[in-house]
């Protein structure tokens, strides 16, 4: 059993039926008698496996099917086709033994009772998830300390800031020490320092419990800091599976070699560098060259020879830029597809 992956999907599908009509009075009246339904595939034939203890991030544009996939894995939605196994269970059966070993935290939905202190909801979850009292006390103390919550848990939830509320939501979700933790946009709308605190906490939880982590986030830093493996999902399909480094190199195969310079090179030197790669920046203060990975050593040697060169760096393209490029590319592919559709 230990070898079985924590999560495995085989051809998982989820379709939603949505009604649609044109705006305006006549279409509205027409819709009285005949409503038009469209089947939308939110998840289409998704297959992958996640091993125990892995930290995986889902990336994709809005509406790509990331959250739907999470909800399918947590057993909230009933799949339209295919098969999912999580910890050896079919999530859609929603068996108590299964639910006691997972947790789903959603940044945009709260479970804490609005008018009561968080402690009251914690107490409810202790009962519901059957956590022995001493274990509960210990975990609560540990987490409130890690998250620096102190007296916050004794205040009515409606009086808390967004960040404090999210911290309490995390505590409520983790009191039963789930082995698989699903996080849907856990840091949405928060300032940078709060994002950092929550990220740190999740990483610490993973370290202490060896839990399997599946995360979606709009903030690339979240994903980069927490996840060793990335799954890119678009239009309900898997279109990349690998590490962040691989993703970057796939989208931007060139690497950037940069130095700090004090004066601009003359034309002849620039032309010589252009033989090696693309000139991205022509300083001062910086000179950067995007080159094929194999030519990096050669380029490094050449750039160091530039008079007054300092601070040499070899870097991958920034993640945000990579994502923007990835989604822009996919969007243009999509538009192309609709064009042909219209023509037919």
């Amino acid at each position: 059993m230990a070898d079985e992956p924590a999560i495995s999907l085989q051809g998982l599908e989820k379709n939603f039926r949505v009604s649609q009509r044109e705006p305006g009075l006549w279409p509205a009246i027409r819709a009285l008698f005949r409503r038009e339904w469209v089947e939308v595939a939110a998840v289409a034939e998704l297959s992958f496996e996640i091993q125990r203890g892995e930290r995986v991030g889902f990336l994709g544009p809005n509406g790509a099917g990331k959250t739907t996939t999470l909800k399918l894995l947590a057993g909230l939605l009933y799949p339209s086709g295919g098969r999912a196994r999580v910890l050896g269970f079919d999530p859609a059966d929603r068996r108590p033994e299964f639910l006691r070993r997972i947790a789903l935290v959603m940044g945009q939905k709260r479970q804490l009772s609005w008018d009561l202190p968080s402690l009251d909801t914690f107490e409810l979850n202790r009962v519901v998830f059957d956590v022995p009292r001493e274990l509960y006390e210990r975990r609560l103390a540990e987490m409130t300390e890690l998250l620096d919550l102190g007296e916050v848990v004794r205040k009515p939830v409606r009086t808390l800031s967004l960040g404090e509320r999210m911290k309490c939501e995390l505590v409520a979700a983790l009191l039963h020490a789930p082995e698989v933790l699903f996080l849907d946009e856990p840091t949405i709308g928060m300032d940078v320092s709060m994002q950092l605190a929550i990220r740190e906490f999740i990483r610490e939880y993973h370290r202490r419990h060896g839990a399997t982590l599946v995360l979606t986030s709009h903030y690339m830093e979240d994903v980069a800091a927490l996840c060793e493996r990335i799954l890119v999902i678009d239009e309900g399909r898997l279109c990349f599976d690998g590490s962040i480094g691989e993703l970057v190199r796939r989208i931007r195969p060139l690497r950037r070699v940069a130095i700090r310079v004090t004066q601009r090179l003359d034309e002849g030197q620039e032309r010589a560098l252009e033989q090696l790669g693309q000139l991205a920046l022509v300083g001062p203060p910086r000179l950067a060259l995007d080159v094929d990975p194999e030519r990096v050593p050669e380029v490094v040697a050449r750039l160091l020879a530039v008079p007054g060169a300092r601070d040499l760096e070899v870097q991958d393209a920034p993640l945000e830029e990579v994502m923007r490029e990835l989604f822009a590319r996919r969007a243009s592919v999509r538009e192309g597809a609709t064009d042909t559709g219209d023509g037919a």
Partner: protein, 271 residues
């Protein structure tokens, strides 16, 4: 959807009930104005519903064979049922409907307990029990006034029909909740139910034809108020008793099945 029965499940569900009651009571105490808006107003509402009965007795010596104090007895049972509806069924159903609309039902479904048990305990309005307590007092007073001394058999029958009445009330709540999965707009079914409940003020023998069938078998107000009163007065036959049990069973099983199907179609609104 299988509830997954296992060792200790019953105990855990009872503890869930206890914890939820505690939480709702705490929340109710936060808003003390609820004593007035829910408790007293609810009681006034129900007593106001008695006015047509008073009008009827102005012009008649009996209503469909029921004397004044017999109708007071029936009104007592109405108050009990209406109080339970306002304290338990309506708040839980409304709260769950809100959770379906906002998508926070997700968290409820993630608990390792029966989702229906979670929904039915989602909220509780203790102040409305004032109405139920008043109803119990009214029943006792009317029983004394009528000089009734019910036999053990009659008390047994009373217990059976009362349980049936409460179960069908809950089953109707579950059906409304299931309907709201299909279409959000069906959320105002609870107000339809409240309106209908007003007719439980009347003995079922007043109604004729299809309406009588509806109030006996579909929305069984007969089981909720007429039968309990009849069981004390001594007019409840075996046929009615069996009919009550049968109707309740059908409603309860039907509600459970429809609930299971509704849950499969849950789409988890993303906000």
């Amino acid at each position: 959807m299988s509830a997954g029965f296992e060792h200790g499940a019953a105990r855990r569900h009872l503890r869930l009930l206890g914890a939820q009651l505690r939480l709702s009571t705490l929340a109710a105490l936060e808003y003390r104005v609820g004593f007035w808006t829910e408790g007293v107003v609810g009681l006034a509402w129900s007593l106001g519903g008695v006015v047509p009965l008073v009008v009827a007795f102005e012009h008649r010596s009996d209503v469909a064979g029921w004397g004044p104090w017999e109708l007071v007895l029936l009104t007592g049972f109405f108050l009990i049922i209406s109080g339970v509806y306002a304290a338990v069924v309506q708040p839980a159903v409304s709260r769950s409907m809100t959770q379906i609309r906002t998508g926070t039902l997700d968290y409820l479904l993630l608990r390792p307990v029966d989702p229906l048990a979670s929904c039915l305990t989602a909220q509780f309005e203790p102040w409305s029990l004032i109405e139920t307590l008043t109803g119990i007092v009214v029943v006792i007073v009317a029983t004394a006034k009528l000089g009734l001394s019910p036999s053990v058999g009659q008390l047994g029958a009373l217990a059976v029909v009362l349980v049936c009445g409460l179960l069908s009330l809950v089953a109707l709540g579950v059906l409304m909740l299931s309907a709201s999965f299909k279409a959000m707009e069906l959320q105002n079914l609870t107000s339809l139910m409240e309106t209908l409940l007003g007719f439980a003020h009347w003995p079922v023998s007043v109604f004729r034809g299809p309406l009588k069938l509806v109030f006996t078998f579909v929305v069984p107000f007969a089981v909720m108020t007429s039968y309990p009163a009849q069981s004390l007065i001594g007019g409840l036959g075996w046929a009615e008793l069996l009919g009550a049990v049968g109707t309740t069973l059908a409603l309860t099983v039907g509600a459970r099945v429809i609930w299971g199907r509704a849950l499969r179609g849950y789409t988890s609104a993303s906000s």
